[in-house]
């Protein structure tokens, strides 16, 4: 029986790299599986929809209708991985809703595997949000993203206890390069002949991390 992963990339803070990670993960899943559905729940940040319009749908969790449109799609075990780029403004409302509707339990019943990718930051809002997630999400489904470009130093100990996925910081000129709307990570891997470039290695390392994350999911199921 297939298990459909749902990756929820989140943080209560803006500009911590959620959309970058959503782009990377979406492109990785598209490359690996040939299909992925991404949801952009960002109204106030750089948008995933602008980067990956062919595989991205917009959604909101402001009202019940929006929640239905998003969650009734996400809870389906159709074998197609889902990526949710959850904007910081929707963080509280989203997790309040998932707790109320019993999302994690229903997902387990329906062979859907949610993975919460919490993008850590060193501020108090993040420090308060993380225990809330720990309370709601089983440890096996909660992964802290240590985006070195955001954290710039050691990850606070509270976040480092569970599983951590590190995203190395890129030099600013490369960051600017990948931030272009027309840039595709997979296309870069395919077209760049020199595999020793920093960007090439950075993309491959992140794709490898995602592959490990998937492998962990499979191991947990078995």
């Amino acid at each position: 029986m297939p298990h459909t992963p749902v990756y929820i990339i989140c943080s209560p803070r803006p500009l911590v790299g959620k959309t970058l990670i959503a782009r990377l993960l979406s492109e990785f899943l598209l490359l690996k599986n040939g299909a992925v559905v991404s949801f952009d729940i960002n109204l106030k940040e750089p948008s995933l929809l602008e980067y990956l319009p062919k595989i991205t749908e917009t959604a909101d969790v402001i009202d019940t209708f929006g929640k239905m449109q998003l969650m009734d799609r996400v809870i389906v075990d159709d074998g197609i991985a889902k990526v949710i780029d959850l904007g910081f403004h929707a963080f509280d409302e989203f997790f309040k809703m998932t707790e109320e509707i019993g999302f994690m339990k229903e997902a387990a019943r329906r062979s859907v595997a949610p993975v919460i990718l919490f993008v850590a930051d060193t501020d108090r809002v993040s420090a308060r949000a993380y225990p809330m997630l720990q309370q709601q999400i089983p440890a096996s489904a909660l992964v802290t993203i240590d985006n070195e470009f955001t954290v710039r130093g050691e990850l606070p100990a509270a976040f480092a206890r569970g599983r951590v996925l590190r995203i190395a910081a890129l030099p600013v000129f490369l960051k600017t390069y990948i931030d272009r709307l027309t840039f595709s990570f997979t296309d870069y891997l395919r077209n760049e002949k020199d595999s020793s470039t920093e960007l090439h290695q950075w993309i491959r390392k992140n794709y490898f991390s995602f592959r490990e994350l998937e492998l962990n999911l499979i191991l947990q199921r078995s």
Partner: protein
């Protein structure tokens, strides 16, 4: 044979959620395996009957024949609990009728267990009913149900007003029914099924349905909160069942 139990759900004011509370009670008794029958006094059409047709009968409580149908069968009928959803404006007259036929005296002497769920809306008019209804409450379990059909505070911000209503009746027990998400409520209305069936994603004839997972989640969460209130007042003990732990599956 266990004592017959009569639960009256009512209010003189309309639109405060009497039938909604009656439905949660029927679902609660059903989940706790308490045999129940219901009477819907919204004659000739009955909202409660639409949701629980198998166990609900529509009656006109102002007629003697229908009063006989309800109260003369209390001992002979097999279900131990009778829930009466009293339509708007009829609570006080209904209680007066019960007094006149000697029902309240029977409750007072312990032959019958009698409970009244008085549904309160967020208005002074609704709260004014409390004093009037309280006159009939000797021998009955009186529950003041604060039904949060909107974001009301039930005047809790004004302690004098609040106390003048809610602390006036010594033996009344307060109950809180939280607000259900509007779309979830409407979806259950459209589905015309008990809340329990909606949560279990089932149609009228127990066929598999396709209700929104989000809305089912909201109903499940809300129903769990309502039932925890019923657990708090030990409703199953009141009706002589006491099987809170033995709920049938599907409600959580």
């Amino acid at each position: 044979m266990s004592k017959p139990v009569v639960v009256v759900v009512g209010a003189d004011k309309g639109g405060v959620g009497k039938t909604t509370v009656s439905r949660t009670l029927l679902d609660y008794f059903s989940a706790n395996n308490v045999p129940t029958r219901a009477f819907d006094t919204e004659s000739p059409r009955g909202t409660l009957k639409r949701f629980h047709p198998e166990i609900t009968e529509i009656v006109d409580m102002t007629t003697t024949s229908d009063q006989m149908k309800i109260f003369d069968t209390l001992n002979s009928s097999s279900p131990s609990v009778t829930v009466i959803d009293v339509r708007a404006g009829l609570l006080s007259p209904a209680l007066a009728s019960l007094r006149d036929i000697g029902f309240l005296d029977a409750a007072k002497s312990g032959q019958i267990t009698f409970a009244v769920f008085h549904i309160l809306g967020p208005s002074i008019a609704s709260l004014d009913e409390i004093a009037e209804t309280a006159n009939f409450m000797q021998g009955a379990k009186y529950f003041l149900v604060k039904n949060f059909i909107n974001d009301t505070q039930f005047f809790q911000w004004d302690q004098a007003t609040y106390n003048s209503y809610f602390h006036r009746i010594k033996d009344a027990t307060e109950l809180t029914i939280p607000k259900l998400n509007e779309m979830a409520y409407e979806q259950v209305e459209v589905a015309s099924v008990p809340f329990l069936k909606f949560v279990a994603n089932k149609g009228v004839d127990d066929e598999s349905a396709n209700y929104s997972f989000v809305l089912r989640g909201y109903v499940r969460h809300w129903l769990a909160n309502v039932w925890s209130e019923f657990d708090r007042i030990k409703l199953t003990d009141l009706v002589g069942s006491g099987k809170v732990g033995a709920r049938s599956s599907g409600e959580k």
